[in-house]
Structures are given as C-alpha cells and as structure tokens.
C-alpha cells in the first residue's frame, strides 16, 4: 500500500471529492481542504470507507487559511500530490461584469493556487506531482472573462512552475470540459442537449473521468510529463 499523501483543495464535494476518492482508492492518504466545513463530513465519509482522510477547513484567499494548510502539510510529514482544484464562477457579460466579480474569481482560481504552491514548496517531497485544475474554457467562453482569465492564467503558471521546479517536482494541468454537476444540471434541457451534441464523445463528462486523469498525472505512470495540459472534454476542444 502506498504511503503517499495527497492534498486536494475544494474537496468538500463535487469534482474535488471525486478526485479525493480516486486518489484514496489508489492508496493515498488525504488532506481535504475546503472553506466549507462540509469537508469534515466528506473526510469522515472517506474514513468510514477505510481510507485515511483528514479535513482542513480553510479559506485559501486569506493568509490564515494558507497558514493552516501549510501547517497541516508539515504535520503530515510532507506532500506527494497537490491538486489545486478549488474554483468558483461569477458569470456576466463583459460590460456588466464588476471589478469585484472579476477579482473574486481571480483570487480563488488563480491567486490562491499560486500562493499555495509557493507556500508548500518546501513541504513537497522529491518526485512530487502538482496538478492544477484548469478548464477547457481557458480557450474562451461566453460571459466568463474572469473565469477564462483565471484558468488561462493557471495554464501559464503551470508551465512556468514546471520549468522552475524541474526535475524535483512535476507540474501539470487538467482542463475539464462539460462535466455532470449541479451547475450543468441547472441548465435548461435544450441548452444542455445542444452542448452535448457538440461533444464528439456524445456524452457529458463524469467527475470520475476527470478524477482518473488527475490520478494519472499524480502517479508515476506520468513520470515523464511536466508542464502539460491534459484536456478532458470528450473531444470538444477540437470539434467544429
């Protein structure tokens, strides 16, 4: 059984929890981080299933939250896998988007992962893997100037950090496309069907599709990959 430790942000639910579960099933001990205290129940659920999981309630946009996560990483004896997954959206057309909406998304989706990675640098073990959660939307999307900027910025950060930290630590990104989630389920059915019809794989993605891609990048199976973006979108990013 592996003794690797993985830290997953945004781990209380959804994609983050799915990633945590797949990593746990592959033998990782988990530090689940979220500003929502539902992360405590998520960690307890994983522990009930026989996995090693500890919750850290922390807001990574604040120094105190960052410090508590770094302390947890130190207490764990180091980190082998860092998954920067936490993210938010605040959509609006460009001319209606407020500076506050722009900044809030940049803070959570880009600034927090940058600061966390830098803060954890000395706690990442030799051979560690960082996986940053970008998005297919980094290539452009309607009404999401803030989100696209944050996820495209995260791709840039991934490349720069990969070069800066090689060969000690690998840094890659995963860019999910349309994934089944409360957000996608809230779309009008005709809109959702229209989007799915543009996906060559002819289905919406599942959280586990993304989680398995993250697990691949976290594992030694991807030991020759760094500075790359793995787009998990059923082919949507190359379709007409």
């Amino acid at each position: 059984m592996s003794t690797r430790t993985a830290l997953v942000t945004g781990g209380a639910r959804g994609l983050g929890l799915a990633i945590a579960r797949v990593l746990a099933e592959r033998g990782h001990a988990l530090l689940l981080v979220d500003r929502d205290d539902a992360v405590v129940a998520a960690a307890e659920e994983l522990a009930t299933d026989g996995h090693r999981a500890r919750a850290v309630v922390a807001d990574l946009t604040h120094d105190t939250g960052l410090a508590s996560v770094v302390a947890a990483a130190a207490d764990a004896g180091g980190i082998d896998v860092l998954v920067n997954n936490a993210g938010i959206t605040r959509d609006a057309r460009l001319l209606k988007m407020t500076p506050e909406d722009f900044a809030a998304v940049i803070d959570v989706n880009l600034v927090a992962p940058m600061r966390l990675a830098e803060a954890l640098a000395e706690h990442l073990r030799e051979g560690a893997s960082v996986v940053n959660m970008s998005s297919r939307a980094a290539l452009g999307n309607f009404g999401q100037t803030n989100y696209v900027a944050s996820k495209s910025g995260l791709v840039g950060f991934t490349r720069g950090l990969a070069l800066a930290w090689a060969p000690r630590v690998r840094v890659n990104a995963v860019a999910p496309g349309l994934i089944d989630s409360p957000m996608s389920r809230a779309m009008p059915e005709d809109v959702l069907v229209g989007l799915v019809n543009k996906i060559p794989a002819a289905r919406i993605g599942e959280a586990d599709d993304v989680a398995r891609a993250v697990a691949f990048l976290a594992s030694d199976d991807s030991s020759y990959l760094t500075g790359q973006v793995l787009t998990v979108c059923g082919g949507r990013s190359v379709a007409p």
């Binding site: 057309r93 460009l94 001319l95 988007m97 500076p99 722009f102 900044a103 940049i106 803070d107 880009l110 600034v111 940058m114 600061r115 830098e118 980094a138 290539l139 452009g140 999307n141 309607f142 009404g143 999401q144 100037t145 803030n146 989100y147 696209v148 900027a149 944050s150 996820k151 495209s152 910025g153 995260l154 791709v155 840039g156 950060f157 991934t158 490349r159 720069g160 950090l161 990969a162 070069l163 800066a164 500075g227 790359q228």
Partner: protein
C-alpha cells in the same frame, strides 16, 4: 482606432501572485473601457512568457491576459471588430508600435507570435 495595452508589471522581476492579480484587474478595466468605446484592442506580451520561460508569475500574468483576449473575442465576435494578443520576441521592445501595426486584419481572439523562438514548442 486600435487601443494597445501594455502591462508594465510583466517586466517586474519581483512579480508575485498579488502583483498578477493587480495587473489583471487593471487590464480588465482597460479592456472594458476600450470595448465600451468600440475600439479594436491589441494586448502586447513577451513571447517568452507564453511558455513560462521567465518564471511562473510572469507566465500566469501573460496566460491571464491571453485568457481575457480569448474570452472577449468569443463574446464580442462580430465582423470587422478584433482583439488579439501580440507576443513579441526578446529582441523587440514591447513599446514598439510598428510591431502592432503588423497584426493582420481579419484576426480576432488570436495570439500572434512574432519571431522564431517558439518554433517547435507547444502552441500557446
């Protein structure tokens, strides 16, 4: 008229995450203002930062700027209007307006990379 956006923070060797945030927020406001005035936009960036050759913070900033370009092009696509990123090689001064004039008509939402340094690299 074309509005040319340059971000002085790009050349700050001490740029950090908070600096990236501040620079992106400024760029967002500049783009909003230019769009409101129905101006074409060119965002000038160093090509080396597209792939992180000068460090993670600068790469994050340039990635964010390119994201703004792509999102705004996606949202504002209409005949004749354009927003692009112009990536310049090390040997060209970022303030060189003649380089901006070479961005072809008919492009929008693109990263126009001048020079040869990124041949054979991942397309940004």
């Amino acid at each position: 008229m074309t509005v040319v956006l340059r971000t002085p923070a790009i050349d700050d060797p001490a740029l950090d995450a908070r600096g990236v945030r501040a620079a992106l927020l400024v760029a967002f406001g500049q783009v909003q203002k230019a769009i409101g005035a129905d101006e074409d936009i060119v965002v000038v960036v160093p090509a080396a930062d597209l792939l992180g050759h000068r460090g993670p913070a600068r790469a994050a900033l340039v990635g964010g700027l390119v994201g703004i370009v792509r999102a705004v092009a996606f949202e504002g696509a209409r005949p004749g209007w354009r927003i692009n990123a112009l990536a310049l090689p090390d040997e060209v001064d970022l303030s060189d307006d003649t380089a901006v004039e070479r961005v072809p008509d008919g492009l929008s939402g693109q990263v126009v990379t001048m020079g040869t340094a990124l041949i054979g690299k991942v397309a940004p």
